[in-house]
């Protein structure tokens, strides 16, 4: 080998290895995951079956073509044949593919029929898509039970996305509140949307369906192995479409039951806490935490905002102005903008904290300490 060629080779290898090492996982995933449900395995088998059919057909067709390209070239003195039609041959290569298609359609129909049977479910969960988060609501048999429902937001920080912090292993695939389901139980999902069309997808379950505003769709899964499963919104839903991951924790039944009971207690406690008073320090600490989780993506660290879509909070006339108007805006959002209504996404305590925090940070110094009861009063203005 020439010295120059060697140098190039070495450089190329060095460049390639350095690029490979940028990824934290050895991730040369080539194929669909087999997943952890019967349907996902059957889907995988179906996928492989069709793939092998295609490979086989490809080998035959491209084989003949390659043979011709090698042997029937003018430079080798090939003389063109004169045949140019044959009804018999045309019929053969119409009928054979047709038969192959029937062989493909049979298992496909069977798997589809299974995947469509959502009856006899043991747990029903309503999933609602929002720009850009998911809400999970566990359906109850009785309205007197404490309801478990929560929002699930991406928890990857903007610093990681903007390359200011190293990216964690679950970059873009982590949420604050994952969906929790029991294993070996038929879980039925009822899917809808608050705004635009989203699609809920977890590859390991082979479950993907659109969440459509005004309409309800259903799908189901029986997860067979405990674990953490990740997916993403699959339908373009606006600016942060790439940032609404799905995380599902599948737990053994007893752990699930314990988790569910804990959630119910928390919900009850949150309702009770709505009447407690909080201190300025607590409010600021909790407010900061909520701000960094929920608000920072748009309003930015330091409350500088991002013109023109996302207004600054530092020195904002709303944040330094009338307190009731400020709370009202956070409760109800601003229709037609990215500002969502947080009346149901945050508890009264959290709402009180976040309002307190923004009114006393980024150079704002109103000195207001908002109590959960104040928020509650506004929430229930009607009653």
């Amino acid at each position: 080998m020439l010295p120059k060629a060697k140098l190039w080779l070495a450089l190329t290898i060095a460049a390639l290895t350095s690029m490979l090492s940028t990824s934290l996982q050895a991730a040369w995933d080539l194929n669909m995951p087999q997943g952890v449900t019967q349907i996902s395995r059957e889907t995988y088998d179906l996928h492989m079956q069709i793939l092998w059919w295609c490979v086989a057909i490809g080998v035959v067709v491209f084989g003949v073509m390659l043979w011709s390209i090698i042997n029937h070239r003018k430079s080798k003195g090939a003389v063109p044949a004169t045949f140019h039609e044959s009804t018999k041959v045309e019929i053969v290569w119409t009928v054979i593919p047709f038969i192959i298609l029937i062989l493909m359609a049979i298992p496909a129909t069977r798997v589809l029929t299974e995947a469509y049977d959502a009856s006899e479910s043991e747990l029903d969960i309503q999933i609602t898509g929002y720009q850009w988060r998911w809400e999970y609501r566990y359906l109850r048999d009785d309205m007197n039970e404490e309801e478990v429902s929560f929002f699930s937001n991406m928890s990857t920080s903007r610093e990681e996305i903007n390359n200011q912090l190293p990216k964690q292993e679950t970059y873009l695939l982590d949420v604050d509140n994952p969906l929790v389901i029991p294993i070996n139980k038929k879980v039925r999902f009822l899917l809808t949307s608050n705004d635009v069309i989203h699609a809920w997808w977890v590859p390991d379950f082979a479950v993907k369906k659109d969440a459509i505003p005004g309409f309800i769709n259903e799908m189901w899964t029986i997860v067979e192995e405990p674990g953490v499963y990740r997916g993403q919104c699959a339908e373009l839903c606006g600016i942060d479409h790439g940032f609404m991951p799905i995380v599902v924790h599948a737990l053994p039944q007893d752990e699930y039951d314990a988790w569910y009971a804990g959630q119910q207690e928390q919900a009850a406690a949150a309702r009770a806490a709505a009447n407690n008073t909080i201190t300025m320090d607590d409010a600021l600490a909790q407010g900061e935490e909520i701000y960094n989780r929920t608000c920072v993506a748009c309003h930015q660290a330091g409350g500088t905002g991002l013109a023109p879509a996302f207004p600054a909070l530092a020195g904002s006339s709303v944040v330094t102005g009338d307190l009731t108007d400020n709370i009202d805006l956070i409760l109800n959002g601003v229709p037609g903008t990215a500002m969502a209504a947080y009346n149901r996404m945050l508890s009264p305590v959290e709402l009180a904290s976040i309002v307190t925090y923004i009114r006393n940070s980024f150079g704002n110094s109103t000195g207001d300490l908002v109590q959960p009861a104040d928020v509650n009063a506004l929430l229930q203005e009607a009653q």
Binding site: D117, A118, S119, E120, S121, D124, Q126, T128, Y130, Q131, L139, R140, D141, D142, M143, L190, T192, N194, D195, P213, G214, F215, I216, N217, E218, L331, N332, G333, P335, G336, A341, N343, L378, L379, Q380, E381, A382, Q383
Partner: protein
């Protein structure tokens, strides 16, 4: 010869233009067509937005078949009313008329108009859910601070297929204050 060719072309172009206009119309015709197909097949889980004229059979065979009907409520973007079902679910026999209700409250200091849009899962069950009365048939104007309970009277058609044992009736509540005809009525009241 030339003349004949030109006439041919003229006739052909006219025909093609009619096709173009026809296909433009067809695009629009897909809207009612789609609704008809949905009504027949329950394609999108939409339930009728009008009172059904059929009534349950008087002496419907009493079977021990029980069908669970779940009730869901959610708000669309920009709608901040309280909105929830008063019952999580009910069990009904096919043919049996049931009455259930939803709760709505307008927490704002101004009047608003809401419109509830029903949807059923599984969507093939939509055609068997017959509503005799529903708050989704009308717009719902609520004064500032007003609270209402809104009823649905329905039955499940006896011809519902055996394999459907549970169906979910979901309402999405939209704020239609701006586009509503009752909006002016509300503010005047």
């Amino acid at each position: 010869m030339k003349q004949a060719k030109q006439n041919n072309t003229k006739r052909l172009v006219t025909r093609l233009l009619f096709t173009v206009v026809g296909m433009f119309g067809f695009g629009f015709a897909m809207v009612p067509l789609y609704d008809v197909i949905c009504d027949i097949t329950g394609l999108n889980g939409k339930t009728g937005d009008q009172v059904v004229s059929v009534q349950p059979k008087e002496n419907a065979q009493q079977s021990d078949r029980q069908i669970t009907v779940q009730f869901l409520a959610q708000n669309a973007a920009g709608m901040d009313w309280e909105f929830s079902a008063n019952d999580a679910q009910v069990k009904v026999q096919p043919g049996e008329v049931k009455v259930v209700s939803y709760h709505a409250a307008n927490p704002n200091s101004y009047a608003m108009v809401g419109q509830a849009i029903p949807s059923v899962a599984p969507n093939e069950a939509a055609q068997y859910l017959k509503k005799l009365e529903c708050f989704c048939f009308q717009e719902q104007p609520l004064e500032a601070g007003e609270t209402v309970d809104m009823g649905i009277r329905f039955f499940i058609d006896e011809s519902i297929p055996e394999h459907i044992t549970k169906l979910t009736l979901s309402y999405s509540l939209f704020d239609i204050t701006k586009s509503s005809s009752s909006a002016t009525a509300v503010t005047q009241r």
